[in-house]
Amino acid sequence: MQTKRAIFASRVLPYWLLAPQLAVTLVFFLWPAAQAVRQSFLREDAFGLKTSFVWLENYTRLFHDPNYLNSLKVTVVFAASVTLLSVALGLLFALAVDRMIASSRLYTTLLVWPYAVAPAVAGVLWWFMFNPTLGVIPYVLEGLGYDWNHLLSPTDAMILVVAASTWKQISYNFLFFVAGLQAIPRALGEAAAIDGAGPVKRFFSITFPLLSPTTFFLMVVNTVYAMFDTFPVIHATTEGNPAQSTNILVYKVYVDGFLGLNLGSSAAQSVVLMAIVIALTVIQFRYIERRVEY
């Protein structure tokens, strides 16, 4: 881990400086996390009147539960679609803006703001647009001979939540790619152009490799986004339906814990999710540390 070559010498001061953050982290993160671990070994009725210790039963049930395995699968499909789509579209728009001289600022401004839209609001907007009885898109699709119904068709429902989640995330990726493209020396592209390389070839031989750190970073960040921050999109739209086809892991934790009141199972799911996030954090960290060092 990095530090300064030169440091201050003080025994007490750093603890004071750290105290507020550590306190908040301990009370609202580490303690609840420990509670989740404890709860995951218990069985309790809804009102919390009777509690019994069941060892690993919650976990074994979980991994034998077809719904949970389905939820894992749904999460993978969903996260991969959102990540790939939003990164690809972000890159596409960034490349286009990179060609602009006069209008790049304007385009950037117009493309940036969805970052500020709450995922829940994004969900509601798309829900309205795709409403099977009222929506504009189903109306158009029906004219084209496709009977859109996300209340029944798992595929339609998945497309809907992927679209709403991606929509909100494109601007974020776009900004990173714009910055990444600006950091690439123009001379490289010009040299290649003089050698007769066309734009497509230049993209794949120069631009894309040089963007790969940005792309990797965005892949991880978007995966985390798709797996966890999209909760409001699901909650405000499909609520995991139909037939659990959009019930992603983080939504299932909530449904089983708060609606199903199956606290043991929900806690076990929390623990599994925490392990996944921590693994992703470590991967990201390794990568960032490496970058800062060279």
């Binding site: 919390g48 029944l152 339906n241 199903g260």
Partner: protein
């Protein structure tokens, strides 16, 4: 920084306080969490305002907590956190869960006795109260809004299709035949739609045909019960629904309450609509440009014993333990107010919920309400059509809120062609039984 935060917090709290409480200081506040949105919510607030104005010792504060499942789980979570309301409105399928929670629930008969309130259980309609009594016949919760599904139809569309607009379909073969005529004549795009697949097209379907849905008298007999949804009538009906969905006779309105069903009926896309008798207020308000007819739920004429009687839905008011003693006196007084014939008749006539006392029903008759408003007594006639059997007095399963979700999921799997009716119902039984076993383990 902290001053800024304090200032923001303080100012906002004050703003909130001035906005929300206009009552006198002395009144004891009683929180009532409910799930009545829209027009019903406005009426509920009116009733509460009426009670609050009638005395100044107590102030009932109604708080809308979202859908039924949300309201119930919010109250349970709040109970665990020690922040529970005194009164919570719980829908009928949460009854099993609430009944098992002896440490958390203050039974209504007990509450009324402790408060010395004038309370006669016999005044209530047996078909309604039966759902909410313990094995000794004591009333555990206060019925407030009970309903039963009925059939609504579009008279104008019927006429256009060459059908008799005064004749509601009686059997499922009527529904099918009428629908085909309606579609073929171009009078409407779809025959029928429905709210609440679980409640209307499975639970009530079963009771209406005197079919069991669980062992031990549909769960009334104990936590040992097992689901038996995969009977021949249910299978036949779900198979038909799938077939009708494919041919356009039926259109699915979505899971849980079926939010998209009502718009299909209002916009005259579907000619027939099955939903709660309490949907009447919404139907009358939204059915612009056409006449609405009413009827009982359809049945299969060749099934022995059909039609039997339908079962109720809607919700009752449960009292949660752990509040101040003074509040419970107020709750008892408020419940007496709620079940008085005038308030009941008003609420019933406005909302389409069933009257919960004989007196309220009689009052309505005296006022000539049912004669003036056709269709308003369909529900009550249907629920009292025959004396309830073990299969038709209701159901009582633990974790039933989740089982309802499974019903929706399996129905969706059926409609999207992933499963046959038989497979869907069997899988429903199997998954539901797991939840019931879990509930049994956690509660014994």
């Amino acid at each position: 920084m902290s001053t800024i935060v304090n200032w923001i917090g303080g100012a906002a709290t004050m703003a909130a306080a001035t906005l929300l409480s206009s009552a006198a200081f002395a009144a004891t506040e009683i929180q009532w969490w409910h799930a009545m949105g829209g027009e019903l919510g406005a009426k509920l607030e009116e009733i509460v305002a009426g009670y609050n104005a009638s005395q100044d010792e107590y102030k009932v504060v109604p708080v809308y907590k979202g859908t039924y499942p949300e309201t119930m789980t919010a109250a349970i979570t709040a109970f665990r956190a020690g922040e529970q309301p005194a009164i919570v409105q719980v829908f009928e399928v949460g009854t099993g869960t609430m009944m098992a929670a002896r440490g958390a629930v203050y039974p209504v008969y007990q509450l009324m006795k402790d408060a010395g309130a004038d309370f006669d259980q016999k005044a209530f309609l047996p078909a309604v109260v039966g759902y909410y009594t313990d094995t000794d016949g004591n009333m555990l919760s206060m019925p407030f809004n009970s309903s039963t599904p009925i059939l609504y139809y579009n008279k104008d569309v019927f006429e256009k299709a060459g059908l008799d607009p005064e004749k509601a379909p009686e059997t499922w073969s009527d529904v099918e035949e009428f629908s085909k005529k309606i579609i073929d004549s171009g009078a409407a795009k779809c025959g029928f739609t429905t709210g609440w697949i679980s409640w209307v097209q499975l639970e009530n379907l079963s009771a209406w045909h005197n079919q069991s849905i669980g062992t031990l008298e549909n769960g009334f007999g104990g936590l040992d019960t097992e689901l038996t949804f995969d009977g021949p009538v249910q299978e036949r009906h779900w198979e038909n629904l799938k077939k009708w969905q494919d041919s356009g006779v039926f259109e699915y309105g979505g899971p849980v309450g079926g939010n998209d069903a009502a718009p299909k009926f209002y916009s005259q896309e579907c000619a027939i609509y099955m939903n709660s008798s309490a949907s009447r207020a919404g139907v009358m308000a939204n059915a612009k440009g056409f006449e609405v007819g009413f009827g009982m739920l359809p049945y299969y004429a060749d099934v022995d014993g059909a039609p039997q009687n339908s079962i109720i839905g809607g919700a009752t008011l449960w009292v949660l333990k752990g509040r101040e003693e003074a509040e419970y006196k107020g709750v008892a007084e408020f419940f007496s107010y709620l079940s008085s014939p005038e308030v009941q008749a008003d609420w019933h006539q406005f909302s389409g919920y069933l009257p919960i006392t004989e007196a309220a029903y009689e009052l309505g008759k005296e006022q000539g309400y049912y004669a003036k408003n056709p269709g308003t007594d369909v529900g009550i006639k249907q629920i009292t059509l025959n004396p309830p059997t073990a299969n038709s007095k209701g159901l009582r399963f633990g974790n039933y809120v989740q089982i309802r979700n499974i019903i929706d999921e399996e129905f969706q799997a059926l409609l999207s062609g992933q499963k046959t009716a038989r497979e869907a119902l069997q899988s429903l039984d199997q998954r539901g039984n797991e939840l019931i076993r879990e509930f049994q383990a956690a509660n014994s």
